[in-house]
Amino acid sequence: MDTFIQQIINGLVLGSIYALVALGYTMVYGILGLINFAHGEVVMIGALTALTVIKLLANSGLPGVVVVLLGLLAAIPACMALGFTIERVAYRPLRHAPRLAPLITAIGVSIVLQQLAMIFWGRSYHAFPPILPASGRDIGGAHIMDLQIVIVLLAAAIMAGLMLLINKTRLGRAMRATAENPQIAGLMGVNINAIISATFLIGSALAAVAGVMVSANYSIAHYHMGFILGLKAFTAAVLGGIGNLPGAMLGGVLLGLIESLGAGYVGDLTGGFLGSHYQDVFAFFVLILVLVFRPSGLMGEKVSERA
């Protein structure tokens, strides 16, 4: 039973991180109909930027929480600039090209970012300095770190803020209009290019936060972390129904739960044939199952005919 609770909690933490990254995918997809393949790398750059700042300040005597916040404050603008540049360089010139073209440039951007990060930060794994209080509490035989609670609450708050932004503000209305039909939105006086840039900026800021959360939670960051994380977050977005914001959140949390419960129980279920190192396979199976049986996702509209 305690394993169960423990895995639920791990899954929730993982799921909130996936949800933040998935929002970035789903917003861009909703507006441009494009999978921003490089989004996972933005998360990675965010994590490593923050970690660099945190390592610099780790011995400065500032309280750990402040140091992490400063790292976050460095990562967010860095990622926003990066996301903005990616859109300008690799996607905007191809906006009217066939869909394969921006997808291939996205793969190219992803490779370039990964290699640049490797050149800049090296091949080694960077450890997150132990500056955050390691306090926690026991609930039902499971141990919950305070950090985990903070991650889940912070993610929830950010998502609530995003929903307010999308549903209640002028910018949000313009974004929804652009997602609905860019041409008509443009005729109504919406500056499409500005809205698309804003979408990338917001998505990248969320990616930065997610990157810091991942590296804080697993105490590690490396140049290769973005790819698989991005892929899983994309799966989460598809699971929830791509283009649908609440769907991305639901999908993220569900995927996190599926993964950690799956990894926790796959050994027992298969009589020890498959072990927890198959954790990464679950996301892909979920992806394939969703696309086969419900391509529109849990909360999405019908999208299978979009070519």
Binding site: P98, I111, V112, I119, F284, R306
Partner: protein
């Protein structure tokens, strides 16, 4: 007309002679390690042509193509190594491997038929990763793939009981193993080229192109899009499976490392950079991307040492960096590839009354 045919025949003979003496020239001039590079380049040409069927002809973006290569390679490794003590002849395994790979192609194709474009890309990518993760982990509790250590001591290809892994003595002339494999790969690559060309001009090939251009219109013209797409996956996988088997026999060792996502992307780069759907272009892309990194490996390190006094970028990351930049640049400036199909070039050059669309595919 007659002189044209004669010219074509003469050209073919000349190319044939050039290809036949190439390993000797390269081997004498640059060393036998470069003949090995040529061998790999031929394998990559086969892979690129296989992927070209899926991506170039049928327009289905497959990012997990290397999985079929892995299937072919591991099948060969399992059926011709001391790992299980099975030693089938290569000529039995290669067709079998092609069939199994085709089966995997259909296995992948069937659930994703309804998907297009980017969804398809992600699912195939996931499929490739699933295969790799399984290969990596299927060493316990029953040791099937020997996990990350891979399988070694794989049997080489034998022709008339002569293993290609040992120098062959012909009239007192010792022909090294890499030369022998060169000729084998060359023959099979030519076969793959031939099959590709015949497929392109066939009813099926035209159906693939029709689906690429407009699936709904293709369906309306009476094309059974489901079966034709499955066939594209199966054909592409077949080539991948054969190339994989040859790879295992040539290396005499396989491990999951050789079948990562980056390999899939590299093969995709070959197709895209060369010119999607254009067979000569794809061959060019395959040769370029297989040989250039080796040239970089030999050139970049001394150059950096001369310029900066130390190695700033190791060749591997330089290679990946250039790949990434090349993918972006080609899509932005030469969307049809380095050597595109004439028809596609015309399409791009023709001023259209509609808002200009940049490149097709």
């Amino acid at each position: 007309m007659k002189t044209d045919k004669r010219k074509a025949l003469l050209g073919m003979v000349l190319i044939g002679v050039a290809l036949a003496v190439l390993p000797f020239l390269v081997g004498k001039g640059l060393g036998n390690s470069w003949v090995r590079v040529l061998d790999f380049a031929l394998l990559y040409v086969m892979l690129a042509l296989g992927l070209n069927i899926v991506v170039g002809f049928a327009g289905l973006l497959d990012l997990g193509y290397i999985a079929f290569y892995a299937v072919g390679a591991y099948l060969y490794a399992l059926l011709a190594s001391p790992h299980f003590g099975i030693h089938w002849p290569a000529w039995a395994i290669l067709p079998f491997g092609a069939m199994v790979a085709a089966f995997f192609g259909i296995l992948l194709g069937a659930p994703v038929l309804r998907l297009r474009g980017d969804y398809l890309a992600i699912v195939t990518l996931g499929f490739g990763e699933i295969i790799r993760i399984f290969i990596n982990n299927l060493n316990a509790p029953v040791n099937i793939t020997n996990g990350p250590q891979g399988i070694s001591q794989i049997d080489p290809v034998r022709i008339l009981n002569t293993p290609l892994s040992k120098p062959l003595d012909i009239f007192g002339l010792g022909v090294p193993s890499v030369y022998l494999y060169y000729y084998l790969f060359l023959l099979l690559a030519l076969l793959v080229v031939f099959v590709s060309i015949r497929l392109e001009d066939s009813r099926i090939g035209r159906a693939w192109v029709a689906i690429r251009e407009d699936e709904i219109a293709a369906k309306a013209c009476g094309i059974d899009t489901r079966n034709v797409k499955l066939l594209a996956f199966a054909m592409g996988a077949t080539f991948g499976g054969i190339a994989g088997g040859l790879f295992a026999a040539f290396q005499e060792f396989v491990s999951p490392e050789s079948f990562g996502l980056m390999e899939s992307i590299m093969v995709l780069c070959m197709v895209v950079l060369g010119g999607m759907g254009h067979i000569p272009g794809v061959i060019l892309g395959g040769l370029l991307l297989a040989i250039l990194p080796e040239a970089l490996r030999h050139g970049a390190v001394p150059m950096q040492q001369a310029a900066f006094g130390k190695v700033l970028l190791d060749p591997e990351s330089l290679r990946m960096l250039l790949f990434g930049l090349a993918l972006i640049a080609v899509m932005l400036y030469r969307p049809a590839g380095l050597w595109p199909e004439a028809r596609r070039k015309r399409e791009l050059a023709r001023p259209s009354p509609q808002p200009p669309s940049r490149g097709r595919g």
